[in-house]
Amino acid sequence: MSYRLQDRGRLIDRSDKITFTFDGKTLDGFAGDTLASALLANNQMLVGRSFKYHRPRGIVASGAEEPNALVNLGHGARMEPNQRATTTELFDGLTAVSQNRWPSLDHDIGAVNAHLSRFLPAGFYYKTFLYPRAFWKSVYEPFIRQSAGLGRAPEEKDADTYEHFNTHTDVLVIGGGVAGLTAAKAAADAGAKVLLFEQTAVWGGRSPVDGGIIDGLAASAWVDRTVAELEAMPNVTLRLRAMGAGVYDHGYVLGYERLTDHTPDKDGPRHRLWRIRAKQIVTATGAIERPLAFAGNDVPGVMLASAVRDFQENWGVVPGKRMVVATNNDDGYRTALLLNAAGVEVLRILDAREGGGGELMGEARNAGIRVDCGRGIGKVSGGKRVKHIQICMTNGTGGAMEEIACDGVAMSGGWSPAVHLWSHTGGKLLWDEAQAHFLPDFSRPPTGADGQAMVRTAGSTSGPMELAAVIQDARSAGADAANGAGFKAKTSKRPSVETATEAPMLPVWQMPGRADYHLKSKSWLDFQNDVKVTDVELAAREGFESVEHTKRYTTLGMATDQGKLSNINGLAVLANALGKPIPQVGTTTFRPPYTPISMGAIAGEARGEIFQPVRKTPIHGWLDAQGADWEPVGHWRRPYAIPQKGESVHDAVMREVTNTRENVGLLDASTLGKLLVKGPDAGRFLDMLYTNMMSNLKPRRCRYGLMCSENGFLTDDGVVARISQESWLCHTTTGGADRIHAHMEEWLQTEWWNWKVHVVNVTEQYAQIAVVGPKARTLLEALGGMDLSADALPFMAWADGKIAGIPVRVYRISFSGELSFEISVRAGQGLALWEKLMEAGKVYGVMPYGTEALHIMRAEKGFIMIGDETDGTVIPQDLGLDWAISKKKEDYIGKRAQARAHMMDPDRWKLVGLQTLDGSVLPDGAYAVGEGINANGQRITQGRVTSSYHSPTLGCGIAMGLVHRGPDRMGEVLEFPGTDEKTYRARIVSPVFYDPEGEKQNV
């Protein structure tokens, strides 16, 4: 059983008692506890169930590398899954719920999977669920979905706030252990501006627990002194609870600061995402201890040796009264010695090395601890906690030499530098044979814009594990970083360090070395993803030779811990199975973030209303007051329809179309892009941009134009008006204004840079109101001020003047087929003109209309819409727009592409109208099917619907679509299977459903 000691626990305050709940049980802890230490203090050793086999799992580690103790934290709007108990600081009222079990942690139905484990090997889901085919949808998929995943996703909107913070620094030091503090001091002494991050709530890293003497001070006292020195320096900023999450190009680093996770009642943002530009980065992220792979190494009570001593020294808790330590290196002895000093019985140190360890072994023996060399653990037995272990020869087959009863195991498989941040931007690694780990290859560091090293490692991240070497490495890393940032590092006295000398470690990838299948199939490599030694060996046998493939096949090193514990052991097993040296197998790619960061921190302030700016026209407020039903178009909001009281949106749309066709309607067209193109070469330039001729357009005239990409595909359309000899106003689609402006700039700046042309985007400078319908002219004449007769202002002409006393420019253009005037007015007077039109129009039945009515009316007229009839693969010729393509021009953007063989192919799908035989509305996007099936067993398709509406004018459904050789097949009936199981039958007709002669607009 795990319990609290009375005289240990440097981080807890026993006078400050805290209450929390775990799985509904109320438990006590102390201020300074982590959730993990408090659970252990309450003898709660079982904390979760494993991902696949639902094996009982306990706490293994003491920090960010913890794979098992993941809990759902909080509830309601503050619920968050997969929170590591080891990095969760305890606070009063904390509620935690274990994961991956049902109905309860102690009695879990899913545990049956453990008995089925023979049938659930690596990659089982690729093999087991293929047949019978029909079972996939109804049986297999629901089962997999039910059992997949770790915690549950929160259902409510996050109640907390988050923020982003941008900063620049000369040197960023990540990691506040002795190495980070040393490096920060060295850089700061050189005068560099230093930012120092530590992911936990305390400075010092492992050193206060692991001991050693620096400059005559105990490590913890040296840490306190150094932190005080740094805090006194004006050029140093220190942050606790701040993690270096990711290192990116050119010194960009994301930091993740947890501000109120430990004090949730405090005001202010919960997390802060630091967006840092550092000239130099020092990663002093330490090293992570590796587990040993022996059978039953996942039973609760088996922990990393370093974690055992962390829990004891920091929080005063131990996993058992009778402990066994299994190690392949000297560091494991530190745990044994500390346990022994605290009065915990250490039954045995099993040292895998025949020759045992160095000084620390002597100390252990002197302390009366029995040390067996050349021995390891063959098997751990016990279900929800450790009961017995079998001792075996390190290199044997697992025959038990002895079985001893115990209630806790501390294991140490050696240490791996945490090289994650070094690797994020391409720092390379070397295999260190002696320590059996990857360390940074300093000849191939991540480089900055100047081609020089941008990231340096300090301390055990660089490879050395002994304190003296750690300090020395960190001093030079800090000095190098300061020099790299343009400062001159000072030479300082080398600190004196006292620490035990250690004997070499022995790589042990499977314990015992010649274990049989049965033992290996219970030897866990990746606790979080339930990957065992046998799974990796199976993957190797099945041909997954690349470590990246093995990772995906077995799930080794996936999920929230990303293989922090499992990586090296897994690689080594794979390398052995493949008969290759480990460095040849290599590692999987280290990607940010180091540990998961909250979605809230990533979003920062950008949520809700300020997620994205909303663009509003001058008439937006008026429409909103009328109850407009808004839809997003780019960053704009446009009214889909403006329903009257009690009216449905559909009914409103129908009314708006009919009223515009019969009386007069107003459309807020202000969002249409308006680009002013001016200069001596403007005409020549527009001739290159549009498919038709614009240079010969006469002043005071308008022309509809098409714009294509260099690939030939139609990308935008709109009406161009020639304003003067040297200036044209180009209208673009609402969503296209910025894109087309950029397109123009790109060609002007990078291809035709000698042409004298200026382009200005004046979209927001003008409001534009379309006055549409048979009574449009009457209404405008009622307001007075301009001659808008057909003679004075013919179709496709424009004129300047005043209407109702307001200066306007009137374009006589039509997108509805009705008599139509688009009135452009300075933005500041847009609303005034709109209100005058509404007021004066009352007697003529004026009503505003929205985008859906606009769509229906243009479809009735067979006008295409960019984005409906086009999708980036459609050329103007597909849409029957050959009339808008100049035959005279030698060149325009897209001309050569449209002459490519596939573009000229008569078998292309082309635009037609479609009318259902029964008058119903074709489903938008539906495909027309032909005879036969393709190579994938799917029905042959011969066309698709691009726009489809109910037309109140015609009283039936109308649609446009692209159909194989469509215009040659008028009158043919096509079949369109819907997703509603119905098949729609529609006849190919002309796309112009309404007023084909254009008589309505030419009055």
């Binding site: 931007t425 900055g448 814009a449 081609g451 700039e745 001309k895 050569r896």
Partner: protein, 109 residues
Amino acid sequence: MLILQCPYCGVMADETELSPGGEAHLTREGPGASDDAFHDYLFMRENPKGVHFERWRHAYGCGKWFHAARCTTTLQVFGTYKAQTTEPPKDIRDRITKARPGWTWRDYA
């Protein structure tokens, strides 16, 4: 996230201020071009592991297009220059030669 200096306004611009425009120094092919030449212009691009010339626009800054000479593996920037040119300027080519003797990129080395 890269930092590139805009050669027009002089700003050391974060990548979030910039929009990428692919390979620099393409020669436009028009209606007179053969199928092969036009195909290459439209679709074929250098994809070097090493020195690369690329187009960027200071989209959320001064709006100007410029070119950058950059190493795609180490992210070293050899220089940026204005887009109104058909080939990289000599000083930048010299700088690349100094840092990467024997480099090639089309025939600009």
